[in-house]
């Protein structure tokens, strides 16, 4: 009844399937798309509460998609699920408005807690600041 609706975007079918399987017990996955553009369009159309984004996607990458989603539906929470383990990816992800960042291979144990945290208004997976000397 009061289900959280989620759009998931990944250019890999198996991953989308895996994500669907992980989420279906607790959440309502309203759309599974294969690129960033589709994720933005789905968000605009379906107005989900949460969007899970991969970073490396065709047409529009995850970061660009997240920027546009936050623009058209600022209330939508974004969590990145990516295979990139470099810290800069996570930082960029939070800088474009993400609420969580989950390494893809650890999604089974970390995705659901990340979603819970995000829904509770907190962040998940923000890398610890490495120091004031790193500036852009």
């Amino acid at each position: 009844v009061n289900e959280i609706r989620i759009v998931i975007a990944d250019d890999s079918e198996p991953v989308l399937y895996m994500l669907g399987e992980l989420l279906k017990a607790d959440y309502d996955v309203v759309a599974s798309v294969g690129d960033g553009r589709a994720a933005v369009e789905a968000t605009q159309r379906l107005k989900p509460e949460l969007v899970l984004l991969d970073i490396s996607m065709p047409i529009v990458d995850g970061f660009e998609a997240a920027r546009e989603i936050k623009e058209i539906r600022p209330s939508a929470l974004v969590i990145f699920v990516s295979e990139h383990r470099e810290k800069v990816y996570a930082e960029v992800a939070f800088s474009v408005g993400a609420s969580g960042y989950v390494i893809k291979s650890k999604m089974i144990t970390e995705l659901l807690p990340a979603i819970r945290e995000a829904l509770a208004g907190r962040e998940y997976g923000r890398p610890a600041p490495t120091g004031a000397h790193l500036r852009i």
């Binding site: 890999s12 895996m18 800069v88 990816y89 960029v92 291979s105 089974i108 000397h133 790193l134 852009i136």
Partner: protein
């Protein structure tokens, strides 16, 4: 009575002036002339250096020469010796020396120099200084006269002595020239006569005496001997010894004199000195003389003299009685200058007015010594300063270096010993000059003197006093005539001598005798007769004035007059006895009214039983002042009316004829005898008279002989002086000659060349020691010069050559070789004497052997050089400094088609039709001339006549001549035309090859770039594949396994679950490896997030690997950059960071990425220890080469600056690519 200077008048009291207060100290003036240097030295050597005195040396010096005295005397004493400069202050324990040609004086505590006057008179510098010293220093002046001729210093010593100073003279035994100290000693005022060393001792002793220097340094008060009792005793000793009572003299003056004598005799206290005085009567005399020391001078205070002459003039013109005489008395005349001054003034006055009275000037003093000087009338040379030359010529004659008052003046002056305070005064005087005497007498004596003067002067007579003196309380006796110059006129009135009862008759007698001895004896005889007549025959009389006051009593007037009872009165009528007053009133009244002589006869006067019949005569007396009139009232006794004839000689009453006859016979006999005697007496008188005449004439002759002798003596003296001078000059000349001889000898031995002197007869007279070089020595002296011929080697006939020079008077020079083949240059010149006579010749030999040999060497060198020049193939030309051709070699002539005749002497620019007149070439040559350097390979195009244009290379060099600074220029020519052509061809080929190489290199590089890009692309693709595909799949596999492990299957079978866990672990590891591989091949972040993020990631990555921070900063960098471009930059940064990590693991690193207008700049720097990029690159390490290569591919520039210990700075600058949208 003398007139000492008042020592108090000018004591050197420093508090009087404004200068700093310095306790006065004695200043010793030391004067000397010839022989002074030795005396000075001995004096200074014996002097202690701390006497507290200053010494001023006055030496007669040659005005034309600089004095060395100061430096010579400095060796004799350790006191500071300095030559006086104008205004120099005097300080104790120092010695001052007069400079030449100056007069020195001491004024206001300083030494002052004046140029010596130019007049011909003697320069009495010592006198002059001593006098100024006495004026300034008074009792603290000390004068010393040392060796010398003449008499300079004597007057100066007098001045010092009279100022209470102390005087010294060198003794005759030790003085080289004793005249000057002898003259000083002869004045009798010198305290010590001794050798210089003793003078020094005495000075040292005096400096310790408390009367000279007070014991406390700052106390400037004079110390005088105390003790009234002793003083009284001294006065009584003086009175006994000299007859002069000093007790009324001013006491400080006397005490000062006593102190001075005590200094001389080394007494510190008064009682021992008094004892000494008692035992030594001669010291009493000395003290007496010292006490009376004075300095008088001619015409002292000239203005006063002028005023006096005016007064005297009026006096002479007005004189009524005795117009024929003028009498003046000068008490205290000392050595007579005042007397003579007056005499001269009056003489001048008489000549001017035409009135010629008999002049009499009486000079008196208590000092017989002074009087003797006065009588002689001899004055020292110093009077030249006091007396005008006109007076000097008229009233003085020069005698024996001194000046004597002319006889005419001397004869009017009489000098006698006389104590004005005790002896009977002179009378009937017209003038008394008593200047500067009273100031030495106390008021008691002063008061007593004025009545004496009043008595002595005629009415209207003048009294002439000193400027500081006045008649004081005796103004009733004298009226002021000239207050400024202290001239007074005697007032009329009876003398008031009642207070003076102690006149000594003997003094007056002495004077009378002296008077008789002068030419005025007849006049005085008349006076005597007058006096007798007056005493014996004159009537008793009184003189009254208009007020009936009796002014004078004459004879015995007691019979007619008596003092009236009551108040004492000289009124005639009150004093008249009995009825006489009536008669007197009548008769005198008549006389007064008529102003005529009135006589009244037949008056009877009775007194004490005696009756006299008298007549009274009243005679008016005109005074020279017309308003005053006096009356002589005479009481004449009528002899016949004498009643008691007791005083008459009455013959015996009882006489006989026999007795009468007898007496008459006796009388007759007596008369005869008397007549005979009288005749004899007459004859004797006659004879005496004749004898007297003879004696007188003999005397005159003697006198003239004496004068002649005097003149002769003077001449002798001057000759003697001249001889001394000549002798001294000769001495000097002798010394100079000795010096010259020494100079000559030294010069001769110093001359290193043989020099021979040959006389007219051609005999060798002198030769230098260096003549030994030619084998000529002392043994050849005085031998004919032809004996030397053998030693002259190649020189032809020496004798002939010398003769030739002597005849022609021309200097000749010859070169020759001696026996040992040494070269000599002989110069023969005539020997000229100072009177231009030719007296032989001087032969100077100069050793020219080295010179000749050097010439030979230089000749050889020249030949050598010539040979080289001629042998060289290249054209050579030698230019002189004026750039004219000096010479050239054959090659030069050949190449440039010139002949020697055409070329030599030509200017280089004119050579060959001016073809070398090229501006660049000129510049080169001028530079060469200016700097003296050389130039090489200067190329000039040159057109040769037959070979066309050739390229010539020139080498120029200045062969500098050290002595002249410039030298000849050597120019060498080389034809480089062919060589140039070959070189140009080679250069062209080289360039072409180089270009080709560059092109190939560029192609290679492009290829390498492409290769690298291709590889990068390949890597990227593989990496993508690995990451996106394999990685993804592995991740999925991992998830699947995990799902399975946690799924029902795993839960059902624990062993399956365990295996699945292990499997998942393996897959995870594999996934990580794949990711790492992918990342290493190509960082996906560069594709995904751009260069900035990638570099940031890189920085973080490295930060984790090292302990120090890595700071990254970027600015304006575009997000989208072409991948190869970003990749290149990334790889360079990666390389630089790994270097930094390797070489500076602990140092912070900063990465700065900045995009500018059209370029991107990457700077990576660390503060680590740094490295040497060159050596590192040479070892092929660190990927520096690949960094460079990448930078090059990007069209950029990479710089690596690193130095050990200064950190590393990698700086990349590449152009920004044209904006291309990636992907």
């Amino acid at each position: 009575m003398s007139q000492p200077l008042d020592p108090e008048a000018n004591l050197p009291v420093p508090f009087e002036n404004k200068e700093p207060q310095v306790a006065p100290f004695p200043i010793v003036g030391v004067g000397a002339s010839a022989g002074g240097l030795e005396a000075f030295s001995r004096l200074l050597e014996a002097l202690p250096v701390d006497t507290g005195m200053a010494f001023v040396l006055i030496q007669h010096l040659d005005p034309a020469h600089k004095s060395e005295l100061t430096s010579i005397l400095s060796k004799s004493t350790s006191m500071k010796v300095s030559e006086v400069i104008e205004g120099m202050a005097v300080e104790p324990n120092q010695v001052y020396v007069i400079p030449p040609n100056t007069t020195l004086q001491f004024e206001r505590r300083a030494l002052h120099l004046r140029p010596r006057s130019l007049n011909a008179g003697p320069h009495l510098t010592i006198d002059h200084f001593f006098q100024s010293l006495a004026n300034e220093q008074s009792r603290l002046s000390i004068g010393v006269v040392l060796s010398g001729t003449g008499s300079d210093g004597s007057e100066g010593l007098k001045a010092i002595k009279s100022a209470c100073g102390i005087t010294f003279a060198q003794d005759e035994g030790s003085a080289k020239y004793p005249a000057m100290p002898r003259s000083a000693a002869a004045t009798g005022i010198v305290d010590f006569v001794m050798p210089p060393a003793q003078i020094a001792e005495e000075l040292a002793r005096i400096s310790q005496n408390r009367y000279i220097l007070p014991s406390s340094g700052r106390d400037t008060k004079e110390v005088l001997p105390e003790g009234d009792g002793e003083l009284k005793e001294i006065f009584s000793l003086l009175l006994r010894g000299t007859g002069v009572d000093f007790s009324h003299y001013k006491e400080p003056t006397i005490r000062r004199r006593i102190a001075r004598r005590m200094v001389v005799h080394r007494f510190a206290e008064l009682p021992p000195y008094v004892a000494f005085l008692r035992q030594h009567p001669e010291e009493v005399k000395e003290l007496f003389r010292d006490a009376l020391i004075n300095v008088t001078s001619f015409f002292r205070d000239p203005a006063a003299f002028t005023a006096l002459v005016t007064q005297l003039s009026a006096l002479i013109q007005k004189k009524e009685f005795d117009k024929n005489s003028l009498r003046a008395w000068i008490p205290g005349c000392s050595t007579g200058e005042e007397v003579y001054s007056l005499a001269i003034c009056v003489q001048e006055l008489c000549e001017r007015t035409g009135i010629r009275p008999i002049l009499q000037f009486f000079g008196t003093d208590i000092d017989e010594g002074a009087l003797a000087v006065a009588r002689a009338g001899l004055c020292p040379e110093r009077i030249l300063q006091e007396i005008s030359s006109e007076r000097l010529n008229r009233f003085f004659t020069q005698v024996d270096g001194k000046y004597q008052i002319s006889k005419a003046i001397r004869e009017t002056c009489v000098f006698a010993k006389h104590d004005v305070t005790r002896d009977t005064p002179f009378s009937h005087l017209d003038l008394i000059s008593c200047r500067n005497v009273l100031i030495y007498l106390d008021s008691v004596l002063q008061k007593a003197l004025f009545p004496t003067f009043h008595y002595a002067l005629n009415s209207g007579g003048l009294l002439f006093l000193g400027t500081a003196e006045t008649v004081g309380s005796s103004a009733d006796l004298f009226a002021v005539s000239d207050s400024k110059h202290k001239i007074f006129t005697r007032k009329a009135g009876p003398p008031r001598l009642d207070r003076f009862s102690t006149w000594h008759s003997n003094a007056a007698d002495t004077f009378t005798q002296v008077q008789v001895a002068t030419a005025t004896n007849t006049h005085n005889l008349g006076n005597k007769v007058d006096r007798i007549i007056r005493d014996r025959y004159a009537p008793d009389a009184v003189v009254i004035d208009r007020d009936w006051q009796i002014l004078q009593f004459r004879g015995q007037t007691g019979f007619y007059l008596e003092p009236a009872p009551g108040e004492a009165s000289y009124h005639l009528l009150r004093m008249a006895r009995g009825d006489l007053s009536y008669s007197l009133r009548d008769i005198i009244s008549i006389a007064m009214q008529g102003n005529t002589f009135v006589e009244m006869k037949g008056l009877r006067v009775e007194q004490g039983g005696e009756v006299r019949e008298i007549s009274i005569e009243v005679t008016p007396i005109e005074s020279d002042r017309h308003q005053e009139r006096f009356y002589l009232v005479a009481f004449r006794r009528d002899v016949t009316h004498i009643l008691p004839a007791s005083q008459q000689v009455v013959p015996e009453p009882k006489t006989t004829d026999e007795r009468v006859a007898h007496l008459e016979r006796e009388l007759a006999a007596a008369r005869r005898y008397q007549r005979g005697m009288s005749q004899e007496h007459d004859a004797a008188m006659e004879e005496l008279r004749a004898l007297n005449e003879e004696v007188r004439s003999a005397n005159e002759e003697l006198q003239s002989s004496n004068e002649e002798l005097g003149t002769t003596k003077e001449e002798l003296q001057s000759s003697n002086e001249e001889l001394t001078t000549v002798n001294e000059e000769l001495d000097t000349r002798n010394q100079q000659l000795g010096l010259l001889n020494d100079d000559l000898n030294n010069l001769f031995s110093a001359v290193n060349s043989p020099v021979l002197k040959v006389d007219r007869e051609l005999y060798l007279r002198r030769c230098t020691p260096a003549a030994e070089k030619l084998g000529i020595g002392a043994s050849d002296l005085n031998h004919p010069v032809r004996d030397l011929q053998r030693r002259m080697g190649t020189l032809p006939d020496l004798e002939l050559l010398i003769r030739d020079v002597i005849d022609k008077l021309a200097v000749q020079t010859y070169d020759f070789q001696d026996q040992e083949s040494r070269w000599w240059s002989l110069s023969i010149r005539p020997y000229r004497t100072t009177d231009h006579r030719i007296d032989g010749a001087v032969l100077t030999f100069t050793d020219t052997d080295p010179l000749q040999r050097a010439l030979h060497v230089s000749d050889e060198a020249r030949r050598y050089a010539d040979a080289i020049i001629e042998t060289v193939r290249e054209p050579l030309v030698i230019l002189n400094p004026a750039l004219r051709v000096d010479r050239a070699n054959a090659s030069f002539y050949r190449v440039f088609r010139l002949t020697q005749a055409k070329a030599e002497g030509q200017h280089i620019y004119e050579l060959g039709n001016g073809q070398w007149n090229i501006p660049e070439f000129r510049a080169q040559l001028e530079k060469l001339l200016l700097t003296g350097t050389s130039f090489t390979d200067f190329e000039v195009k040159h057109a040769l006549l037959d070979a066309g244009t050739r390229m010539m290379s020139l080498n120029g060099r200045q062969i500098s001549d050290e002595s002249k600074g410039t030298g000849v220029i050597l120019l060498a020519f080389e034809d480089v035309t062919e060589r140039r052509k070959r070189e140009e061809e080679m250069a062209r080929q080289l360039t072409e090859t180089g270009h080709e190489l560059d092109r190939t290199k560029e192609e290679l590089r492009a290829l390498a770039g492409r290769l690298m890009n291709a590889r990068e692309e390949q890597d990227r693709r593989v990496a993508r594949e690995l990451h996106d595909d394999f990685g993804q799949r592995l991740a999925l596999l991992e998830i699947t396994i995990e799902n399975c492990r946690l799924g029902p299957l795993g839960q059902a079978h624990p062993e399956v679950q365990e295996t699945l866990g292990l499997l998942r672990q393996r897959v995870s590891e594999l996934s990580s490896d794949v990711r790492t591989l992918s990342h290493r091949m190509h960082p996906s972040v560069l594709d995904d997030l751009g260069l900035v993020i990638a570099l940031k990631g890189l920085a973080e990555e490295f930060q984790l690997a090292r302990s120090a921070p890595v700071l990254f900063t970027s600015k304006n960098v575009p997000v989208t950059l072409p991948l190869p471009y970003a990749g290149g930059v990334y790889r360079i940064a990666q390389e630089a960071l790994s270097n930094a990590t390797k070489y500076a693991p602990g140092a912070p690193v900063t990465i700065t990425l900045t995009a500018g207008h059209d370029c991107l700049r990457l700077i990576i720097s660390d503060t680590g220890p740094g490295f040497n990029p060159v050596s590192v690159r040479a070892n092929g390490g660190l990927g520096l080469v690949s960094m460079q290569e990448r930078a090059h591919l990007l069209g950029g520039d990479l710089r690596i600056q690193s130095q050990p210990r200064q950190g590393t700075n990698v700086s990349l600058k590449i152009p920004l690519p044209k904006p291309v949208k990636s992907e």
